[in-house]
Structures are given as structure tokens and as C-alpha cells.
Symmetry: C2
Subunit: 200 residues, 2 copies
């Protein structure tokens, strides 16, 4: 059977999976899940992911894999999207853990508050923006002398970080002070299968 | 040269690395970093990890790997701590991303507020505790019919989740309603190299 992705098209964590599958030309089906209407809290969904979050990759009728960056690793291993060198593999994971801990928790949350909740005066925004800019600064310094996050080719680390960074404007973040990031975004955007995430 | 770990002994993220190295009987040196006194903000430290966080693994004089769970993967690949099966490898990462996104951000932060800042009335605590109990509930249901998080043996996913879970009391969380978690904690605690994290 084809893989089935349970995801929300306007979620960066879900968009990562679409880009990886399309880059690798792996056939899949997409089942749209509306997290805003509680669809990740149904008994059916919780049986696939007890943590109640999208995306989930259905590998077969009884095998489910949650966590966007774990899905990227599953799809990418033994393809050009994951390096073979042991240290480079760990560096790919280093940037994906950075993405989930230091980047997504700021940029994606600020985007959620602004674009989904439309709360432009939410008191959490200043701290989230400060942390978002800190993450962009770390990325910019790393990319100053590099084309991609790890090694000389596109990897799942680039796809993971592209997902919310290319929508930084949604989060109220200005990318102009981060020229290495914007150059890298253009480079990643030109890769096969990479696409802009739809707006809600 | 031996690996050098830059870490703080009372940090769960750092304690993970110590347990993995001792389980694998890999020689290393430990350099204690006091994050509370700003030592992760020095120019020397930021040259190793621009994100300014411990732990960092120095692989040689010029090669540095940050992010606790990326370090676990680097140390564990091709050892019994990381499975060989593709799906099981992805499931190990699934639980490690769960740890960093849904568990550490609640349990470790509540512990930090209570044990390091000693702010037992901090207004963030109720929400952190709610999220911490949700994470423990997900773990408990998963462990009901299992000995370890993935497969039939100890993996880096167990070490990652053990780090802050065995100190849940520090975070103000009661483990009594989670019997599968406490049984699993005892099982992991008995494994070679696994140790209790020191209190601040």
C-alpha cells in the first residue's frame, strides 16, 4: 500500500513530510486533519498517535509513525537526503533537534498566534519573537559560509528548517537582517519537490 | 584523543550523555559548565555551540556536536543502543523528538523553576505540570505492554526519557498514577552505566 500522511496542509511540521515525499518521488495519500476542530483528539486519531499531534505517517494499516522529524529520517535514510558519514548524520539530527526545540517553539508558535488565532496583541508574542530572532541569528551565522546545513547537498535538515522559516513573515519576523538565511531559502526553494506552504 | 563532554552535572540533557558513554564504556573527559553563571554565553563556548546550550560533545579539537539527542545518536549508532531495523530506528527518534518537544519543555522546565530558581509559586507551574502529566500519561500507556520504548532492549530513547523522568519529583510531579513508568524506571536504572542525576 502507499504511505498515508495524516496532516494539516497549513502546518509546517506536516509540510515537511509532503516536501520529502515529493522530493523522493514516493507515492502517498494525504488525509487532511483539522487540528483546530479537535480532530487530533478523536479516539481513532489517538490510536495512531497517543500524543495527539500531526503529522502521522501510516506505514501500513497497523503501523504508525508520529513526529515530523522522525518521519523525515524514516523516509530519508538510504537516500541522498541523509548523509552516510556518521558525523554528518549526527549533524543532521543536531539541526533537526535545534529546529524542534529552539526554532519551532518560537517561530511556529508566533505564527500560530498571529495567523490562526489572529491575536496580534497576545502578550506572549514579544518573547516568542525574541527567541525566533535568536534562532534565525544562529542559522544565519552557520549559513554564512555554507550552501546547506550539513555537507554540500540538500538534506532533511534543510527541509525541516525551511518549513517554518520560509513563513517567518507569518510569525511577524523580518528576514532582512539575515541575508545568509534568505539566500539559503531561495536555494532550497529551487530543489525538486520543495514548495511554499499554503496560507490558512 | 578522548571525547570531551561540556556539560552541567545537574542537567538531565547532560546526564543522558554521561549514561550513554558509561553504558558503552567509552572513555571521556567531563568539563563542568555552570550555565547559571553565564558560562554558555562566553565567546569560547559560543564558538563550540552558537546556540549557547549544554551539552556539547568535542569530538576533536575543532569538531563539536551540540544537542543531547543528536549526541546520543552519534554515540549509539552501530552499538546495541540503536536498533538496526529501519522502522525501529525511526521509532527511537520518534520518542527522542517527543522527549525534547513534549516532555523536556514541561518536566525539565518545571524542575528548573522549582529546584534552581526555588520559585514554588511561579505562575507558569500549573500549565507546565499539566503538560508534564500529559507526557507521563503518553509514556505510561505505551509502556503498559512493553519493557522498553522500542524493541526488546535498552536504547538511547530509554536513556533520553529516563534523564528527567527519574527526577519528576523535582518538578513537583507524582509518578504514583503511572505504574508502567515506575516499573520501566526501575528496569532502566538497573542497566549498566545508568545512574541517578545529582541534585543541585
Amino acid at each position: 500500500m502507499n504511505y498515508v500522511v495524516y496532516g494539516m496542509a497549513t502546518s509546517g511540521n506536516c509540510h515537511k513530510i509532503k516536501m520529502a515525499l515529493e522530493n523522493l518521488r514516493v507515492p502517498y495519500q494525504w488525509r487532511e486533519i483539522n487540528t483546530l476542530e479537535g480532530e487530533t483528539r478523536s479516539a481513532t486519531f489517538l490510536a495512531m498517535n497517543p500524543n495527539g499531534k500531526v503529522p502521522v505517517l501510516a506505514i501500513d494499516d497497523t503501523t504508525f509513525l508520529p513526529e515530523s522529524n522522525a518521519i523525515l529520517w524514516f523516509l530519508g535514510e538510504e537516500t541522498p537526503l541523509v548523509p552516510r558519514d556518521r558525523l554528518e548524520r549526527a549533524q543532521v539530527l543536531r539541526w533537526m533537534f535545534f529546529e524542534q526545540y529552539s526554532h519551532e517553539t518560537a517561530v511556529a508558535v508566533a505564527r500560530y498566534i498571529r495567523v490562526f488565532l489572529k491575536e496580534h496583541d497576545n502578550p506572549r508574542l514579544p518573547d516568542l519573537e525574541k527567541r525566533g530572532y535568536a534562532a534565525l541569528g544562529v542559522m544565519d551565522r552557520h549559513l554564512e559560509a555554507r550552501h546547506y546545513f550539513v555537507g554540500e547537498t540538500l538534506s532533511i535538515a534543510d527541509l525541516a528548517l525551511f518549513a517554518y522559516t520560509h513563513k517567518a513573515d507569518d510569525a511577524g519576523l523580518d528576514l532582512a537582517p539575515y541575508p545568509a538565511v534568505t539566500t539559503w531559502l531561495d536555494r532550497v526553494a529551487a530543489a525538486p519537490g520543495v514548495s511554499t506552504m499554503p496560507s490558512p
